[in-house]
Point group: C2
Amino acid sequence: MSLIVQKYGGTSVGSVERIEAVAKKVADFRALGNEVVVVVSAMSGETNRLIGLANNITDSPSPREMDVLVSTGEQVTIALLAMALEKIGCPARSYTGAQVRILTDKSHTKARIEDIDVHRMQDDLAAGRVLVVAGFQGTDADGNITTLGRGGSDTTAVALAAALKADECQIYTDVDGVYTTDPRVVESAQRLDQITFEEMLEMASQGSKVLQIRAVEFAGKYKVPLRVLSSFEDGPGTLITLEEDESMEKPVVSGIAFNRDEAKLTIQGIPDTPGVAYRILGPIGEANIEVDVIVQNVSEDGTTALTFTVHRNDMKRAEEKLHEIARDLQAPTVIADADIVKVSLVGVGMRSHAGVASQMFQTLAEHSINIQMITTSEIKITVVIEEKYLELAVRALHTSFGLDVVDQSE
Amino acid sequence: MSLIVQKYGGTSVGSVERIEAVAKKVADFRALGNEVVVVVSAMSGETNRLIGLANNITDSPSPREMDVLVSTGEQVTIALLAMALEKIGCPARSYTGAQVRILTDKSHTKARIEDIDVHRMQDDLAAGRVLVVAGFQGTDADGNITTLGRGGSDTTAVALAAALKADECQIYTDVDGVYTTDPRVVESAQRLDQITFEEMLEMASQGSKVLQIRAVEFAGKYKVPLRVLSSFEDGPGTLITLEEDESMEKPVVSGIAFNRDEAKLTIQGIPDTPGVAYRILGPIGEANIEVDVIVQNVSEDGTTALTFTVHRNDMKRAEEKLHEIARDLQAPTVIADADIVKVSLVGVGMRSHAGVASQMFQTLAEHSINIQMITTSEIKITVVIEEKYLELAVRALHTSFGLDVVDQSE
């Protein structure tokens, strides 16, 4: 008998009919002899409806009261799903985050899970019940309702799987797995049967939105096997594992991620002295602007240039800040450019394979795509290019690294 | 400084605008130097929307899950009201029933309050905050969410007032007080400045729907001064007190209540032997049919007739049951009649005044209204009459007992 935690997102429980379909799926899975814990989000649209109510009252609602408000969304879903399960003869019991006692810190609207009490859940599982747990929410030590922030239901599912020592944590979503790249950009993108946590983390942090990055981190840390699969069609999905599968001939590159949400800022003609990077990026960090890729060029004339990327929404603020800093440093030029994208090759195979970077640069060169920035990590190579080349670059790299679907009929 | 518990029903918090109006009212009241605890219901329509969702899934949802579902209604209101209060500079904090720890028994959908933990609330009051508490809900000893049944927010308010030893419990509603009778039936009905708990209980049990009968019982038991007043207009409302006001010239009759929801059942020709009433009403009670007025006539021929009233919805069931009983008792006749109403005079003044009953009967006789049943208690006289005479009877009695508004310009 396996213990499985399943998580269904807002779209999967978006109507009474869909909740009934989820109930059927869960009951079938239990009938196969599994113990099942189900984590659900609010019905799609509900969280936005609740936020809309709050915004009709005030632009700056207290975070504590926002959590009291939006946590009702999942509470509605757990009750309805438990009813739907009981209706088809599957014993079930719903739990709010506070009822499980998913203990979090006190950071309302973006709380972090500190501890999970498993005793009551284990009693209910032993009694043969399916547990239906509200995702995204918990309680702090003083009994205040907290939420984990948007998408936090994935984190709830992984944390419950870790605490209950579940055999697998299954994240049901509207896609049927993790792909080599976004199928909307590359038609021949393939679903991956398996991917490592490290790769998934790099994919997620580069804009592949299948899973919340915190949930992946959590699963990696607690060694919870994680599977992404579709709510709407049957299939094996993608298993996210701790170890790369040695028995298989793995491709060097597992996937290609990209991100259109960033902008590039350059400050030129700065004195090439120790500490200058800190004097520039320190004030940017203090202004709560998150910096992603950073590149500093080697100087020829005693001055240097620093280039970095930030979220596009932060570009204006970062640019203003940079002008202030430029005045202090007597640096002549600040350039802001929103017309960029980041493209990353991800794969644990890179560790043992040389030549990935040069093959990447050659492929881009063959298509006359100019590379503006380059950074690398052990399992990732990222380039920043002009936005209009995004589709061309991703498709060319997808083919070049052998990721295209092989037509089975050939 | 007074500690006041205020309760606002679903209509009073039925929209964002109305919630803001309530916030204003509460903040003004606090600004006068009062400590305020506010109890709110779900926004009007919300509870029915939630019940509708459940009914789309199953005709017989588990009571436990219904409570998880519908309790979200008040949770939304408390968050929004707390936000609205904070927006206008009034420190506030919301509490669900479980967060207060309103401990109830385990009777889901109709739980009874067993205990209220006041420590956390007292800390918040001492810190100058307005407390916004979800009405209608609590938690059992195992942490399951319970609800008190429809209208239970009144009970929550009174129970909180009792536990906190509040100076007054104010129930804001869509009427501006308790009236001598229903103003829709008698135009000259007057708002009462004051009424005793006993009178209010009799009025409520006779169909005057201003307050939940359980809330009145609770307030009487714990000696909580209770005031009914309007959410939408200023005014003193009606104070429900423990003692009748000796300083005032009280009318003998305080109000006239009536009830159209009952039906009358008669079983005739039964043997006039000890225990026969039990043999008839025992099975009716076992069938979960509540019996209200009961009258047994004196027999002339060794047989007797028993007449009683039940809720109209139960009439068919009661009639079938009665036919079974009639067969056992070899009683010849069972008569069911839905065409009746109950009219009651209520007033603590009756205790010390003779002649109220005869004045009532005389008034009805003058209007040729036949009395079908009579029962009396210390502070109430009830008659059952044909339904078509309802308005005529109530108006005639209202005038006869001096309850009509005296035109101030006279």
